[in-house]
Symmetry: C2
Subunit: 562 residues, 2 copies
């Protein structure tokens, strides 16, 4: 008989796409699934990235049995370099995932005591009261797994990120027969990927892309440049395969593409016949119709190889030649649309023929659509259901799918990060919340996001800053010199001088009222701010940040004492 | 015999979607087509909107015969309030368009000497050597027209923004028979809308949306809230029609929606049986299944009616009730995706069932897809072709379509804003460029965008600002007090004090080297900037904007002389 309830505590990844982290807790045993990062939205000015808040785990370190990783995408492994300096439980990952984690830790120069254990689909590990089995799922990166977690209360299935592809290009098809047999016996809880819960129907197979690539490359008279996510190894395999078929050689550009292709070739996730991959200095020796370039830059990243080609960056070793065909074999991640469009436009301007998602099926995504989500629900037949990995609308729509398939409303939980869901054998309830803040990484600073700082940056970004220096001769209750005004980011140089002169008069007039109070810096500060705020609003309808510096001059000074 | 060439000079709208403005010039006669605005991209910090550069027109004012407007969208009329203070040629617009221009001028408080002339589809005006005929086109706003422009060199056809809809909900179907007969006689030049040149096939008819709305509203058990573009009057008509059919009343919320619906009812573009539109205070008296709310906010605009509902803004007179169905009958304009997603998520959180473009066909757009563009090219059979209204990729793909239909490559011109294309009867060539700057409106300032200001705002937005005050006792070559450091937007309050103290020591050490030069402000400034830049980079990997204020104290001061 179970003596505890099972606690399900999402620490990241719910109500957002990114920074996935889910804790399962039974008595004194906690296991964590994934530790991802997230890229900030536009309004989080100056923030490099976001990671999950692990305060809950820090307070329970002695109970933390391990972190299990489902696959090697940044939103599942990217927080490890930041959290492993504070906690160091054993980590469990499949081979390809483990390689990517090692790269990540090395890049950030992180040394950790955490042990990085290798697991395989089909293998089993025991972490406290949890026994975890890994099963293959099909996703847009090799070696992705879902989890079957045996707990004292019953079986928990975690889908990982998945789609159903009966004809995957590499890696195994999602292993559903095992899940079906579990479903027949009874599963307590399903946690399932909601990313594409908006999309009706099925996600097409990777094979569809092979056909498109084959057609494009057979029709292209010149060079073909293909860009995709570096970790989308199956796409790279497709490129190698069509290259072989059409007698073209492949040139690889972009740091992450080179690294991952090389790692995938070494570890056997990618196969290429000898001689098909060439060194860049051989590029000029081949006729154009014998060339495929495989490049980074599918998201329009400003320093990527493709963007440097698009911008005719002289440091780029590959330059666009009119007649090149560029295939953008990816879709923009939300937030990257403008960068990708800009890159596409620049490539067209260079005379390239660009083929992208709107024009042909050059990409299929890695998450299941509605019919696939329903199939999983149907096979697993869980008593309780928690949609994971999605914005609130995705979770909500996934919950609706589950209801439409007969799971009672009270057994479906659309959770927020920080909710503590307690499941018994027959019922579940959110019993409490643990604080999860927005933890940012910005340069070398990591901390909980302070809205005051963001508000200041927002103000500064719109209307800039005005620094006003007031030198006061306090003894004589006069200004020792005219107010000085320096602006940055307020107005262009053309209009600046006149505006500043007027502003100076405004400050003078404001301080003239009550000369005896010139010795009170807070009085001077308030007067300057009030008068200039009004002035800039009236003159140009702008509200810059105003900083007043009040310096007393003309009295006996002392040397700094530090 | 024509004595001049025809000049085609795009002043805005090419290589971008927005701020459309095209000048046609023959000898001493210039006519301008449209005068639109554009919303800035994210990186144009602090910019409210962009308008075309009219320097070319200012230099040729005496030749400017008029501005012809194709329809009332902001990207075609929105610059009028800003340019009519500088030029005041007669303006020609259809009735609905004219009403919107009047609203626009009134809102901005613009008084102009420019005459606002009314034209109708089928009517003709003569402007210098140009005779212009207006023909109906189907678009997402009533009273849209294309132009048939008779010039001494031949006929120019301008498509306006158009799609082909054989079953439009209101307004006339695009009038193509006239174009076909022109095509048979010979057309010199076609200027055609490229916005959706990426999309294969045909754009669906508005009627498709009627069916979807009908189904949603017949199935909804509670209230239905529909949001769309205020100017999309045909969609509003559809909402009224289904309301009548299903015995629901319509409540209108949001300023622009109220204004445009009221104007469209008055002018006859919209018809609603008496009693179908109700006042908001009647909302509570009706059962939920008798209510439709028609609202602004389809782009997630932060102050719109729908967003205030989504955020439970207490000032909103309509609040979401669980069980409400919200129909977002629009797609996000590029750049607005995140705002729309956020609004959708908030509505789901309130318990609404939200139906949007990914889930059902609740919107069709207003521009023709590839087959429609080909049909127009086929009917008009122009000698020369200039794709207009699109990003570079759209223009480029539209040009490819034209080539595939047999227009010779040398007769197709993918232009940039500012290009001066000269057409003779048999050949054409870009002969020169006129300068077109990026003209911004920011509060009350209008001017050419200064990259230095934008660069400063970008820096400020990332890492904030640091103001360092150095009080120098020049006579004694000492610092009169410790350096003062104020930061805004750099670091949260928790970490600030310690960092600033350290920074102060760094500045002191940097100035200590060469005390005799303390009287040189530029020396002090350079030392402070160098040392602190290095310090912040080492400590926190950030590069704030550093402003140094050097004040001399302790010598005889003088009263300000202003």
């Amino acid at each position: 008989m179970p003596t505890h309830k099972l606690r399900v505590i999402p620490l990241g990844g719910l109500g957002e796409i990114g920074k996935n982290m889910m804790a399962l807790e039974y008595g004194n045993d906690i296991v964590v699934i994934d530790a991802g990062l997230m890229f900030p939205s536009e309004e989080m000015l100056g923030v490099d990235l976001l990671i999950p808040d692990i305060s809950y785990l820090l307070a329970r370190q002695k109970d933390l049995r391990g972190i299990v990783i489902t696959h090697g995408h940044e939103d599942h492994i990217g927080a490890l370099p930041y959290i492993l300096s504070r906690i160091a439980p054993p980590i469990y990952a499949t081979k390809f995932t483990r390689e990517l984690i090692l790269v990540e830790l090395k890049q950030r120069g992180v040394k950790t005591g955490a042990k990085l254990n290798l697991v395989r689909p089909g293998s089993r590990i025991t972490l406290g009261k949890f026994t975890i089995e890994f099963f293959s799922v099909c996703h847009s990166i090799p070696d992705s797994v879902g989890l079957i977690i045996h707990t004292p209360l019953g079986i928990v299935v975690h889908s990982g990120d998945f789609k159903i592809d009966y004809t995957p290009v590499i890696s195994e098809a999602t292993n559903f027969s095992q899940l079906a047999s579990l479903g027949a016996k009874g599963v307590l809880l399903l946690l399932s990927d909601s990313t594409y819960a908006e999309l009706p129907g099925y996600t097409p197979s990777e094979m569809v892309v092979s056909d498109t690539l084959d057609r494009i490359i057979s029709e292209a008279k010149g060079r073909v440049i293909v860009t995709t996510f570096a970790s989308l190894v199956s796409r790279e395999q497709q490129v190698f395969d069509v290259a072989v078929k059409h007698g073209r050689r492949v040139f690889i550009v972009g740091r992450s593409m080179k690294e991952i292709v090389s790692m995938a070739l070494k570890t056997g996730y990618l196969t290429a016949p000898p001689g098909i991959i060439c060194r860049l200095d051989e590029l000029k020796t081949l006729p154009h119709n014998r060339v495929i370039v495989l490049s980074t830059g599918s998201q329009g990243e400003p320093t990527s190889a493709l963007v440097r080609m698009a911008n005719r960056d002289p440091s780029s070793r590959v330059q666009i030649i009119p007649g090149d065909t560029v295939v953008i074999s990816a879709t923009p991640i939300p937030g990257n649309e403008a960068l990708v469009s800009k890159t596409t436009d620049s490539l067209f301007r260079q005379g390239a023929n660009v083929i992208y998602d709107k024009l042909a099926q050059v990409h299929v995504h890695g998450h299941g659509s509605q019919e696939e989500l329903k199939l999983l629900l149907n096979l697993v037949k869980p008593k309780f259901f928690v949609p994971v990995h999605g914005e609130y609308r995705h979770l909500s729509l996934h919950a609706s799918l589950a209801r439409s398939m007969g799971i009672p409303k009270d057994n479906i939980f659309v959770l927020d990060n920080g909710d503590i869901l307690e499941l018994g054998q027959d019922s579940g309830k959110v019993v409490a919340r643990t604080h999860v803040g927005v933890i940012y990484v910005s340069g070398l600073i990591t901390g909980e996001l302070d809205n005051a700082v963001l508000r200041d940056r927002k103000l500064l970004s719109r209307d800039g800053v005005v620094v006003v220096t007031i030198a006061v001769d306090a003894e004589n209750a006069t200004l020792a010199e005219k107010p000085r005004i320096i602006t940055r980011g307020l107005i262009d140089t053309g209009g600046e001088r006149k505006l500043i002169e007027k502003g100076r008069d405004v400050v003078l007039a404001a301080l003239d009222h009550d000369k005896r109070r010139l010795s009170e810096p807070s009085f001077v500060d308030a007067r300057v701010k009030d008068s200039l705020t009004r002035f800039f609003h009236e003159q140009i309808h702008r509200r810059p940040v105003i900083i007043t510096v009040v310096v007393e001059v003309g009295k006996t000074q002392r040397e700094p004492t530090s």
